[in-house]
Symmetry: C2
Subunit: 157 residues, 2 copies
DNA sequence: GAAAAGTAGTTGCAATTGAAACTATTCGAC
DNA sequence: GTCGAATAGTTTCAATTGCAACTACTTTTC
C-alpha cells in the first residue's frame, strides 16, 4: 500500500534528491552496470574489472599493468587482481619487459581474444538498446555533455 | 614517460572503452560521487547512504525504512545500516507505528535538520559548479536524456 | 658510484557491500 | 479463528574494495 506523502517545504535551499544530478547519475550508472555485470558474469564468468582489462588489451596489446590502470580508470590494485584472475583463467599472457625488470607486459591469449570477440557484440547490443530511445542529435548531445561534465568533474575533484 | 601505443584494429565489432556509454557513465558517476563523499565525510562525518537518508527525510518526514529505501534507490539493508548510525549520532528519531508493530517511522532530530540545512547548500553548490559549463538548453536536454536513459535502463534490466 | 627518491606490482588488513537467513508481525484465504 | 504467505527490519557471513605497507627494481642526485 503506497502512501503518497505531502512534501514539506525543505528548509534549506531546495534540494530534491530525485532532481539532483549526482544522485541521478549514480542511480543510472548502477542500474546499467548491474545489468552488464550480470550478463558478463552469466555468460563468461567475467567481472567488470576483468572485462575492462580484456577490452583495453584487445585494442592496445602489450600494455603494462600501470598502462592498463590509466586507460581503464581503475587503480593499480584492482588491475593487479583482475590480471591475476585472468592469468589463472589463461585469458592473458604476461611477459617480462627486458629493459625494466619491475615491469611486465600483458596480452590476450587466444582464449582471451575469443572471450572478447564474443563479449563485445553483447556489450554493444546493450548500449544500442539503451540508446534506442534517443535521436541521432540526442546521442551527439549526450556524448558532448558527458565529455563536458567529465572534464568539469575532474577539475573540481 | 608516456608511450603512445597504436591501436590495433579491434577484431570484433568495434568497441572502444572510452567511447562506450556504460563505461563513461560509470567513470563520471564515480568521479562525482567521490568528490561529494569526501566533502560530506570531511564536513559532517556523513557517508553517502546516510546523506541520502537525511535528504529524503528532510523532505518527507515520517517515512518507514522501506519507504526510504524506495525513495533513495537503496536496498533495505543499506537503509537499516545508515539509520542505525544516524540514530547513534542522534540525527534521527524513530517512533513505532501504532498500527503496525513491525514498522517504525523515521524523522530528523533537530541536529539532523541542522546537518541537512548545512549540507544541502554545499551539495547544490557542487551541482551548480558541475553544470556551470552547460547552457540552459543543455541542462534541459541533460535532464530529459537522463530520464529517458533511466527509464530504458530499468526496462532492459 | 653510493644514497635517496621514485616506480611497478603485490600483499595484508580493515571497512564496505550484498545476499540469504532470520525474527517478529500482519495479511489473506478458507 | 487458523494456517500459510507476505512484509518490516535486522543479523550473519562471504565477497569486494581501498589503503598502506611492502619488495624489487630503476632513476636521480651529489
Amino acid at each position: 500500500m503506497k502512501k503518497s506523502k505531502t512534501p514539506t517545504a525543505a528548509p534549506a535551499s531546495r534540494l530534491h534528491l530525485d532532481r539532483f544530478i549526482p544522485y541521478r547519475l549514480s542511480v543510472l550508472s548502477n542500474t546499467v552496470s548491474m545489468s552488464l555485470a550480470r550478463a558478463y558474469e552469466r555468460e563468461f564468468d567475467l567481472s567488470i574489472p576483468e572485462w575492462r582489462v580484456v577490452a583495453v588489451l584487445a585494442r592496445y596489446p602489450d600494455l603494462s599493468a600501470v598502462d592498463v590502470a590509466e586507460r581503464t580508470a581503475m587503480d593499480k590494485v584492482a588491475v593487479s587482481r583482475a590480471v591475476q584472475s585472468l592469468l589463472a583463467a589463461k585469458r592473458l599472457v604476461r611477459r617480462n619487459d627486458r629493459h625494466d625488470r619491475r615491469r611486465s607486459v600483458l596480452r590476450l591469449s587466444a582464449s582471451g581474444r575469443s572471450v572478447y570477440t564474443r563479449i563485445a557484440p553483447l556489450a554493444l547490443a546493450y548500449e544500442k538498446d539503451l540508446l534506442s530511445q534517443l535521436s541521432a542529435a540526442d546521442r551527439r548531445t549526450l556524448d558532448r555533455l558527458m565529455t563536458l561534465l567529465f572534464k568539469r568533474a575532474r577539475l573540481i575533484m
